[in-house]
Amino acid sequence: MKKIAKDKLSLLWKKIAENYQLFLPITEGKVVNFSIWEEGAEVDLNTLRTVNSPKNIIFPQTETYLKFKKEGKKLNLEVVANKGEYVVFGVRSCDVASFKLLDNVFLDEPIDKFYEESRKKGLIISQACLNPQETCFCNSFGINPELAPEGADISTWELGDLLFWEAQSEKGKNLTEALGDILEEVIEDEQEKLNQLKTGIKDRLKDLPLAQINPETIGGDLKEIFDSEIWDELHRRCLGCGMCTYVCPTCHCYDVKDYDGNKGGERFRCWDSCMFSDFTMMAHGNPRTTQKERVRQRFMHKLVYYTNNYKSYACVGCGRCTEKCPVSLDIVKVIKKLGGERNEL
């Protein structure tokens, strides 16, 4: 395990940015988001949760993948793929876990090559959460924010003025070596302190207000939950905006569109939201005519459909929807209504 003094971090950023595109949680106005680091950027490693999840780095909101040109009856197609190598620093355990959930979909056969490429070129550096917030419930989905999350190439912990650094993968080891003496070896005493820190975080998790959420106790099979009457009530306050789906680290539905750029054009895919009325609209009609069906689709997908297909819930308990939904129609409420609560707590 290595360490670095926090006041030397900008040296570290600089060094990494020499060879990679470096994404960091950066403050802009009141909002913190992962953006490309440049000298002088206002890095914020304290905010637990960026507004946008880092999924937009590995699965961009808009991704052009094809350029086309028509000449008479001839059609020319050209594949666009120009992603460079990048590093994302400061990804929290919940967001790291969300990458695995996206992998399940995109790396399932037939493999999404653009996504695969994007994953290959990325190096994920996680950051443990010292102080989980009241809206956090990652623990309910089996995520331990104090540990090195599976899927991170390097994991870090903050302790006082220090940042601890541990490579988790081959990629991570290579970067760690390349950084050379910017990083120092951890001494035994500090290792002990780190262990205490981890235990401290674990204790704090139990006291969080949403700690009792437990999707495992949701009862009923697919059709029973589908036909449940909770949807009749729940959907009514939904405004039909797409905020929950766009800030969600696990939502991955997309649309494919063409842009006519006069002389030639391009095809891109972009995030889409099952909350939007035109999501399933076809020439002959729409199978989901009201917001009830749309709201149901979103939560059924997260808690039932995805689980049936990939043996895992499509939620990581990051709390973004809990905090951001303008009318508090978040997954916590749905899980609770479906009976997903631990009784003993």
Binding site: Y65, L66, F68, K70, K73, K74, L75, L77, V79, A81, V105, F106, D108, P110, I111, D112, K113, F114, E117, K120, K121, L222, K223, F226, D227, H252, C253, Y254, D255, V256, K257, D258, Y259, D260, G261, G265, R267, R269, D272, C274, F279, T280, M281, M282, A283, H284, P287, R288, E293, Q297, M300, H301, V304, Y305, Y306, N308, N309
Partner: protein, 278 residues
């Protein structure tokens, strides 16, 4: 690190619209092949392909030709939306993009030795035709074939050459046509497909393959049940809005099944297990 993004399932290959036939006022059948010759890919009856007409977009269509037709793919397309409208304006010799094949197929291997009942309405004949031609090209593998087809009027019959000639002349094959409303010079049956099936009173030892407008499918299934068909004997093929064709973009799901990947062909007992949202 080499990028193999050009192999991505979302990337279409170039194909050429070789010939176009006007079936009805709003349906055209397109023969599509590789720019030189041959099929862009191999497929099985009932599968779909995504056709691209940049800069308008992509849409998914069922392949209406049989895999036994090795020279071209055929698509029968009704002009209903943006992409289909653009396709209808395409001229012969125009290059388009194609990717596929997508979805599952009608289990033609399992059908071997059985009598088959095809029930189609309107443009719903498109996916069935692939199976019909496939079974007729492998005639000895299958038993009696009945084809029930209905449309608004004789003018709305797609593949009328098949309906009036090829299939009628095929051995052990009966074609039963019906139209919705009286039409001049029409000597055949008048009435909706479900009633006609009831009148024809088919024995329930067949496999039924149904495709047509949702409302027709609904009533046909009721009639078939009445005639004694088991749900496991009935197959249908569905369509919902699709974008990726590979079960990732997340909009064509019925419950946990994706029509583009786990469908479009569903056996009715499987369909019964899914939520009613299609």
């Amino acid at each position: 690190m080499s990028c193999n993004c050009h192999d991505d399932p979302l990337v279409p290959v170039i194909a050429v619209v070789d010939r176009i036939r006007e079936d009805t006022a709003d349906i055209k059948t397109f023969q599509v092949k590789k720019p030189k010759e041959g099929l862009p890919f191999t497929f099985k009856p009932g599968q779909c392909a995504m056709l691209s007409v940049p800069p308008v977009g992509e849409a998914i269509f069922s392949i209406t030709s049989s895999p036994t037709q090795q020279n071209f793919l055929e698509f029968s397309i009704k002009n209903v939306g943006k992409v289909t409208d653009c396709l209808h304006q395409v001229e012969e010799g125009t290059e388009i993009g194609i990717r596929g094949p997508y979805g599952n197929n009608f289990p033609v291997e399992e059908f071997k030795g059985k009598d088959l009942l095809f029930i189609g309405g309107g443009i719903g004949l498109a996916p069935l035709r692939s199976v019909i031609n496939y079974t007729l090209d492998n005639r000895n593998d299958y038993g009696k074939i009945d084809i029930v087809y209905g449309a608004r009027s004789p003018k709305d019959f797609v593949h009328s050459n098949d309906l009036y000639h090829n299939w009628v002349q095929a051995e052990g094959t009966d074609v039963h046509l019906t139209i919705d409303k009286e039409f001049e010079d029409w000597k055949g049956n008048v009435g909706f497909v479900p009633q006609y099936i009831e009148e024809l009173n088919f024995s329930c030892d067949k496999v039924a393959l149904v495709c047509g407008p949702p409302i027709m499918i609904k009533f046909v299934l009721e009639v078939l049940e009445k005639l004694g068909f088991d749900q496991k004997q009935i197959y249908t093929t569905l369509e919902l809005k699709m974008k990726c064709g590979i079960g990732k973009c997340g909009r064509c799901n019925i419950g946990d099944k994706y029509v583009c990947k786990d469908g479009p062909v569903f056996r009715c007992d499987e369909l019964g297990k899914l939520p009613d949202e299609y």
